[in-house]
């Protein structure tokens, strides 16, 4: 039995190799007829990578083709997105996209792409922002934390992933709505931010629900930035319940190079939507702390426009853009 898995593995790798070699013409009817390159504009191991890795086996199972994941890190995603439109437009190349990155980055400086250059066709989930503390923290509730911050302005330190990111903008909004002053310390990615939290280098982390899921034995969340409670954390209140209107997080989706035929884009949008509907997939994603949403190709532009307003406002307040 174990040998069959070995054989399966080698057949699969052979398939990968031939998939790369043969390149037939593009037709929406028989699309996809070969494996699809799925580029992540970040390094491996982050939330973007993990969500792509979750989609990978379901795509193979449902549509018979492989997703070949590769990484193009640099410039907080800018290296990848600035090159996206010069890639093959045959529907066999797509790239992960992240909000607020694709909105904030181009507003900071010329990074080689504008938000409108990114031809997104689906936003499939978000990792809701959440305030995370260690299991033995003195803060039992969000109220404890706000009381502390009021008594000690600036002394409440949050670790978080990067600056001008979902974590950072949520912290800025939280400060404003709660009328407090806290200190945000940017780390390189969620892994480093969690490390700082678990090592008690900071008082708390402005992280994602995925942090609460992954480190459930060592941390707890005080509030999550969702409309309703996360199915995996029925005991953790939303910011809304506690009186703060924060629904935010890092949204992830996929874009294709501009010029990719519309019928292929529509088909891809349908396919990603179908994966999102799969009960097994939902269960896995939710267990990891993701919150699934469905913004397909027809709703994409409105979604970006709506999100842009909120992000720009808090990014200005955070001093990330002028």
């Amino acid at each position: 039995m174990k040998f069959t898995t070995a054989i399966k593995a080698s057949v699969l790798s052979l398939g990968l190799a031939t998939g790369l070699a043969i390149a037939p013409a593009v037709h929406a009817d028989d699309y996809p007829s070969k494996s699809i390159n799925y580029i992540i504009p970040f390094g491996p191991g982050g939330e973007s990578d993990i969500s792509a890795r979750h989609q990978q086996p379901f795509f193979k199972k449902m549509f018979g083709q492989d997703l070949i994941i590769s990484y193009k890190p640099g410039g907080g995603g800018a290296v990848g997105w600035s090159q996206l439109n010069s890639m093959p437009k045959d529907g066999y190349t797509m790239m992960g996209i992240n909000l607020p990155h694709i909105i904030i980055k181009p507003l900071q400086k010329d990074v080689g792409f504008k938000t409108d250059d990114v031809d997104g066709f689906y936003i499939f989930h978000y990792t809701p922002d959440a305030i995370v503390v260690t299991a033995d923290s003195e803060f039992k509730s969000l109220k404890d934390m706000i009381d502390y911050a009021k008594a000690n302005p600036g002394k409440l330190t949050f670790s978080g992933s990067g600056k001008g990111t979902a974590n950072h903008l949520a912290q800025v909004t939280f400060d404003k709505l709660a009328g407090i002053k806290t200190t945000y310390v940017a780390f390189k990615g969620t892994g480093a931010a969690v490390q700082a939290l678990l090592g008690n280098q900071v008082k708390a982390e402005f992280g994602y629900t995925s942090v609460g899921a992954k480190h459930s034995d060592k941390v707890r969340m005080l509030a999550v930035a969702m409309e309703e409670r996360h199915p995996s954390f029925p005991d953790v209140p939303t910011f809304k319940e506690l009186g703060f209107d924060i629904v935010s997080g890092a949204y992830r989706g996929i874009a294709v190079p501009k010029g990719t035929p519309d019928d292929i884009k529509n088909k891809l949008s349908e396919m990603i939507g179908e994966i999102n509907k799969d009960a097994d997939f939902r269960k896995k994603m939710e267990a990891d702390g993701f919150a699934l949403i469905d913004v397909g190709v027809d709703k994409y532009a409105d979604f970006i426009a709506e999100k842009t307003k909120g992000y720009v406002e808090s990014a200005k307040e955070a001093g990330v853009i002028k």
Partner: protein, 505 residues
């Protein structure tokens, strides 16, 4: 009993095959500059979905181990560290190859890698949960001081050319600031060019600064690439074993250093190799030979960087915080498989993790025969290929390898320009290592400093933040020793010589 079952599981025919295949593939991939362990493991992930978690881990761990060792080939034979972990391997490996001892150096590297790998895996097996707390004890300020310690080694490692080495280090620090800053998100020093937005990628800088000057010199001089003293001597195993036995303390010490540095997420094999190298040199009797082809130097770095494999798995498996970039890929694959990492992995789901650790031992041991055979082949082909073919082949590989890192033409352009700059600077007596160290450690130091300053300022305790934490103080002490150590030794040596006439230090 359970341990025995896991041992048996690790040695199942499938796992044996995976470990063997993984080590071979990893060694070959690691030997090609530009192709990294991270990339190799990432390509494998979809294949591992159809496997049991323990087998998947064994395959990925084997590739990873092999790739770290494979990096030694290009470091020794081409003066090009395939990965940052092999930077210090070039210090003595390449001079050895130049002197006609390339085969010996490759064999020594293989033995050292196996020892390092075994020590790292032993720590992972026995002490993983308690050692994981080391990773948490390191806060931003400790990373800052650790990076400064790494930079201080520039001074310690470059006697004679100290000023030039420090200038090189500063150039590296400047280079590290290019692109989007990690913690402030500022876009710096790009001069309006999009080529520079992504910053200077470390591996492409390694290839440019180390390999291009070698290629130019090969073309510019009529000499053979490596001196070949006698007809092929084979792998010189007995000789290498004898040297390794003599250097056993060095090997063990370097392996322990490698494991401990490996536990710190983000610190990486480059620091491990350097610290081990400078320790080996500081304690050696033959200090003058270092940098001119001392086997101890190769042993120190190669055992240390392979020990980081086991060390890096400690925070990855216990805390869910990847110790190294390849660990990050492996962690992602495990999550998708539904394996929840954490201390529980060592208790409730222990069969997976222990089968994997035994598999890692197995892969490391298999690296001895396979590494020796592949190493012999690599050495022979490098000395047998005529220069007219060697240069274009390697040049082509540097281009492809640089491009492959993140499929970026910008990286290739940067690599070629840095190569030209490196060659010119080399003519004026600047070596590549300080520049690369500045580049790698600059961003670690900057992030640590900014974070520590922010936290220190927020808690109104800046002095305590930087100078009041025990681990920081210990690292500061090491910095002082590494900076002042050589002069103090000289001072004492001088006094003793004066007092006791002919007696040496």
């Amino acid at each position: 009993m359970a341990a025995f079952e896991n041992l048996v599981a690790a040695f199942s025919p499938l796992n044996l095959l995976l470990a063997l295949g993984g080590v071979i593939a990893g060694t070959v991939i690691g030997s090609l500059p530009g192709l990294t362990a991270t990339m190799a493991v990432a390509v494998l992930v979809p294949i591992t979905f159809s496997m049991e978690p323990a087998s998947a881990l064994i395959l990925m761990g084997a590739i990873y181990t092999g790739a770290i060792y494979g990096g030694a080939y290009s470091a020794i034979l081409l003066n090009t560290p395939g990965t940052p972990s092999a930077i210090a391997t070039t210090f003595d490996g390449y001079p050895m190859a130049k002197n006609g001892d390339g085969d010996l150096a490759v064999t020594l590297a293989c033995i050292a890698s196996v020892v390092g790998g075994l020590v790292g895996a032993t720590f992972l097996l026995i002490l993983a949960p308690p050692l994981a707390s080391v990773a948490l004890a390191f806060g931003p300020v400790e990373y800052f001081w650790l990076a400064i310690f790494g930079l201080s080694l520039i001074a310690a490692l470059s006697e004679g050319n100290l000023v030039k080495a420090l200038m090189g280090g500063c150039l590296g620090l400047l280079l590290s600031a290019i692109g989007v800053a990690e913690v402030s998100a500022d876009i710096r020093l790009t001069f309006g060019s999009q080529v520079l937005v992504g910053g200077i990628e470390t591996v492409s800088a390694l290839i440019g600064l180390y390999c291009v000057p070698v290629l130019i010199d090969l073309v510019a001089t009529p000499d053979k690439h490596l001196k070949v003293t006698t007809e092929t001597k084979g792998i010189r195993l007995p000789e290498a074993l004898a040297i390794s036995w003599r250097g056993k303390f060095n090997l063990i010490r370097s392996s322990v250093i490698g494991t401990l540095v490996g536990i710190l997420p983000g610190a990486g094999g480059s620091i491990a190799g350097l610290v081990a190298y400078s320790e080996a040199r500081r304690t050696a009797k033959n200090q003058d030979e270092f940098g001119k082809g001392a086997p101890d130097g190769v042993q120190a770095t190669e055992s240390a960087n392979n020990a980081t494999v086991g060390g890096g798995f400690i925070p990855t498996l216990v805390l869910g915080i990847p110790g190294t970039p390849p660990d990050a890929v492996i962690l992602g694959a495990l999550l998708v498989q539904g394996v929840k990492v954490g201390p529980n992995l060592f208790t409730s789901e222990s069969s997976i993790v222990y089968t994997f650790i035994y598999g890692l031992f197995l892969a490391t041991i298999l690296m001895l025969p396979t590494g020796l055979i592949i190493g012999r082949y690599a050495y022979r082909s490098i000395i047998a290929i005529p220069k007219a073919i060697l240069v274009p082949t390697v040049a082509f590989m540097t281009l492809i390898g640089t491009y492959a890192i993140r499929n970026s033409v910008s990286d290739v352009v940067i690599m070629v320009i840095l190569g030209a700059i490196g060659w010119v600077l080399g003519r004026f007596g600047f070596s590549a290592s300080p520049i690369v160290l500045g580049l790698i450690l600059g961003s670690i130091a900057e992030q640590g400093f900014v974070q520590a300053w922010t936290i220190g300022a927020a808690t109104e305790n800046l002095t305590g933040m930087f100078f009041g934490r025990p681990i920081s103080l210990a690292i500061i002490a090491m910095i002082v020793i590494s900076l002042l150590g050589p002069s103090i030794v000289k001072l004492f040596a001088g006094r003793n010589a004066n007092a006791d006439g002919e007696e040496k230090q």
